[in-house]
Symmetry: C2
């Protein structure tokens, strides 16, 4: 990989569909698609077998692409009750696999991802997908939404973590929305939100 | 191990304290304490490191004691919001570790465990702890509660799964509460509840 490029694995955790996307992000914030896949497990399998199946898929990706960081969606207990437990279990498994490879793990909320990618924290899935395609120079929006979400997480992480630009770096090359986001991000540092994201 | 004895690992999942208990249960339903430990992770560690720490502890126990089945508390999304995510993440990790050793995993709800151990689904922690000590012939109640809960889960699983007595076996040696529970359990089979527990 060229010097300064950071390779991030983004995971949109789920038991039925788990989006996994890998991007290379340069210091000038340009991002390149490395791979994207949606891992699935059959709902009629025992839960531990479903977890193992998704875990095997994540491990194969880690092995093949050797990312330097893993970004996961931060799951809230207040989310959709019917899927929350499987989502939390997969996120636990993904974090364990990352920790065992000594990879740093970062959690980003859906609104942080939307804001980083589209400049608007309440953007819908379609807007996020369109921006992901544009950022990565793809002809089509990655499908299903889990794939686009995983890539959005990876890009968001690279952009926000200082892996691509330092927190105090200049804003050259940013869109107006991105500049506004970064300004807001700096302003919010004292609230602790930014610190939590950068452990 | 003597013929017919089943060794069960019970896990009361948690990120700060994870109870892990191993029991050997004979066909006559007598149970023997093999080991019990409460795994801990420091709250100031990164979440992925906490998960890895607990996972290492569970793996060491699996390696040392080679249980034939793993019983976990079934976590509900409606439980205490402040701890639910860590609990779900640990349970995902524990199930993965079991699946990778091809061990069967069973989930039991707190009220199922209480009913199996004390004969009363709404028993309090103190009653469960006292019955666990009595069943295992211990002079003292295992402390903290996570340790007693993990042992209760393991005993409950052996008793309910037919590992110790066949589902159609006689009720010799059962307390009146246990007999009532088993009768109710059989009656509920058509509802699917028992089937879910015995996947």
């Amino acid at each position: 990989m060229p010097r300064g490029v950071v390779r991030v694995l983004g995971i949109d955790p789920g038991l039925t569909r788990c989006g996994v996307g890998i991007v290379d992000v340069s210091p000038d914030r340009t991002a390149r698609l490395v791979d994207v896949i949606v891992l699935r497990s059959a709902p009629d399998l025992a839960i531990e077998k479903r977890l193992a199946r998704i875990a095997d898929g994540i491990e194969a990706i880690l092995e093949e692409h050797r990312p330097q960081a893993v970004a996961l969606e931060r799951v809230f207990a207040r989310s959709d009750v019917s899927t929350i437990m499987g989502t939390a279990q997969i996120s636990g498994v993904a974090m364990l696999l990352a920790a065992r490879r000594a990879l740093p793990v970062a959690l980003h909320t859906p609104s942080e991802v939307k804001a980083a990618i589209t400049g608007y924290g309440r953007a819908d899935k379609k807007q996020v997908g369109a921006m992901v395609a544009r950022i990565l120079g793809l002809d089509d929006v990655p499908k299903p939404a889990d794939a686009a979400d995983a890539l959005a997480l990876a890009i968001c992480h690279a952009w926000r973590s200082g892996g691509a630009t330092s927190p105090d770096g200049d804003d050259a090359g940013l869109t107006p929305a991105q500049k506004a986001w970064r300004a807001a991000e700096r302003a919010s540092t004292v609230s602790g939100a930014a610190r939590r994201l950068k452990r």
